[in-house]
């Protein structure tokens, strides 16, 4: 299989001296769904920031497809980010925009035509199960529905890789499974999915590849793994 994400000897030390990542070596193949687990401060979010170029590594190589992420020119970064979808625990929706507008926003900022907006937005709303919630504002939606909107916005530009940073952190177990099912569906359609999570139930029942991190290092990388080491 082709590698979608490759990290070679990647370290990240912040200006205040905090070592967030230390000598990370990681390859994720195209079409994989990978869980990244570990306690808070283990380096999961920093790893995502290096992939979508919010941060630059202190040393090492980060490749997404054939692009060396740290070598991207400033002007190339926005185009690159259109290929990397992100969702977060706090959804990051705009409260003054409706569901439809929140998703359309992701297309408008990349200067998509109105025709494209009218075609793509209803399609992703359908996919995430919010066909009839297009006119609702975020405060009128439940947490699970807000995360679905966020997911819809992340995939509307058809990214090749989707990173979910604790997407079920604010949701009850049933709603969390609803989001997980959606991520599986998106993955089934060909998008590589990386999900940082503390949700043991999901990780243990899904039995997918698990990468465990601690103190900025990968301490376990297991196919069909569980949240904790199984003895």
């Amino acid at each position: 299989m082709n590698a979608m994400l490759r990290m070679r000897s990647v370290s990240k030390v912040y200006h205040n001296g905090t070592v967030a990542l230390s000598s990370i070596n990681l390859t994720v193949d195209k079409g994989e769904l990978v869980f990244i687990v570990g306690p808070s401060g283990a380096g999961k979010s920093t790893l995502f920031k290096l992939v979508n170029r919010k941060e630059l590594p202190s040393s090492g190589e980060v490749w997404v497809g054939r692009k060396s992420v740290p070598d991207l020119k400033k002007g190339e970064v926005p185009i690159f980010r259109r290929n990397v979808g992100m969702i977060y625990q706090d959804f990051k929706l705009l409260s003054n925009k409706t569901t439809f507008e929140n998703i359309a926003f992701a297309l408008e900022v990349v200067e998509a035509s109105r025709r494209e907006v009218l075609r793509q937005v209803p399609a992703v709303l359908e996919l995430v199960g919010l066909r009839d919630k297009g006119k609702a504002y975020p405060h009128e939606l439940s947490g699970g529905e807000q995360q679905r909107v966020s997911l819809a916005r992340a995939i509307v530009n058809r990214p090749i890789i989707l990173m979910a940073d604790e997407p079920t952190g604010n949701l009850d177990p049933d709603t969390s499974w609803g989001i997980m099912d959606l991520l599986v569906e998106i993955n089934r359609r060909g998008t590589t999915v990386l999900m940082a999570t503390h949700n043991k139930d999901i990780v243990n029942r899904m039995r997918r590849r698990v990468i465990a991190m601690e103190h900025g290092k990968i301490i376990r990388d297991e196919q069909r793994g569980a949240y904790d080491i199984e003895s």
């Binding site: 002007g75 926005p78 980010r81 990051k92 900022v109 990349v110 200067e111 916005r153 992340a154 530009n157």
Partner: protein, 297 residues
């Protein structure tokens, strides 16, 4: 940097919306642009008028062009020919040595012992030149002095150069005041736009997350800054024009000897300069505030 026209229009709408949402700070910014540009416009008009008065004073006095001793007829004709070609010369008169002496006698009287026969030989031949209102007096004097047969040009230099100096000092002083007020203006515009940027930081974060280019993010704030600058400058132009008309009318009654520049003759240039400086204030202010934020995010 290239955006579709539709996107630019959208950014303009956003910029206008920012201005309205943040109305109090926007008004403060427009107010400071207005004050800065009133200072700029005011000192420009003062300097223009002082220069104009110096020119007018010069035009109302006659210029005396003294020729070198023993110049021949050809050399005199050279000066005459040169004067004929100048559009600023209203009229000129050749004063021979004999006529020069007669003029002196007219001034000092012809009592015995003051002037003697043959005194005229010590006087230079000269041209007496009157200028019209189009004349660029300084240029004419320089041109005359470059002629080989001209010894000296007398035209009340002291008064003229004093007025010019006062005008220069007024202008330089005005520019210094402008720089100080301008600095305050930039500070206030930068803070106004920073408030908008801060209020919309979440939106900007999401924009950059989903792949908006820096220019797409910048344009609404650039429009906001430009609008502040242009509205402030248009108000300044309007106030200056009304104020100047009022002053002109008042001065005609109390000091009719003062020849003011008519506002119509400078209005177009001054308005464009004010708009240009106002727009530059807005543009620089917005670029500074957005640049800092984009760097930070």
């Amino acid at each position: 940097m290239t955006l579709k026209a539709k996107t630019l229009f959208h950014c303009f709408k956003e910029g206008w919306g920012n201005l309205a949402r943040n109305s109090l700070m926007s008004l403060a910014s427009i107010g400071t642009v207005l004050v800065s540009l009133l200072v700029l416009g005011g000192v420009s008009l003062l300097a223009l008028n002082l220069n104009h008065m110096a020119d007018m004073a010069l035009q109302s006095t006659k210029i005396r062009v003294l020729l070198k001793e023993d110049v021949n007829f050809d050399a005199t004709e050279q000066v005459r020919f040169w004067l004929q070609r100048q559009s600023g010369v209203e009229s000129y008169q050749f004063i021979s040595k004999q006529e020069g002496l007669m003029r002196l006698e007219g001034i000092f009287g012809i009592e015995e012992g003051v002037f003697r026969d043959g005194d005229e030989e010590f006087l230079p031949e000269e041209f007496e030149v009157s200028l019209n209102s189009d004349a660029d007096a300084e240029k004419l004097v320089t041109g005359l002095l470059s002629l080989s047969s001209v010894e000296e040009v007398l035209y009340g230099q002291e008064f003229y150069s004093q007025v010019r100096t006062v005008s220069k000092i007024a202008f330089i002083g005005g520019i210094i005041v402008l720089l100080l007020v301008g600095f305050a203006t930039l500070l206030i515009i930068t803070n106004t736009i920073r408030l908008t940027v801060f209020a919309r930081r979440r939106e900007i974060e999401i924009m950059s997350l989903v792949g908006a280019t820096d220019w797409y993010i910048r344009w609404p704030y650039i429009f906001e800054g430009l609008l502040i600058g242009i509205i402030g400058s248009l108000l300044a132009a309007l106030l200056l024009s009304r104020g100047y008309y009022f002053l002109e009318r008042k001065l005609v009654n109390v000091a009719s000897f003062l020849h003011l520049v008519t506002y119509d003759s400078v209005q177009l240039h001054l308005t464009w300069i004010l708009i240009g400086v106002g727009a530059a204030f807005g543009l620089i202010g917005s670029l500074i505030s957005v640049k800092r934020f984009l760097k930070a995010s």
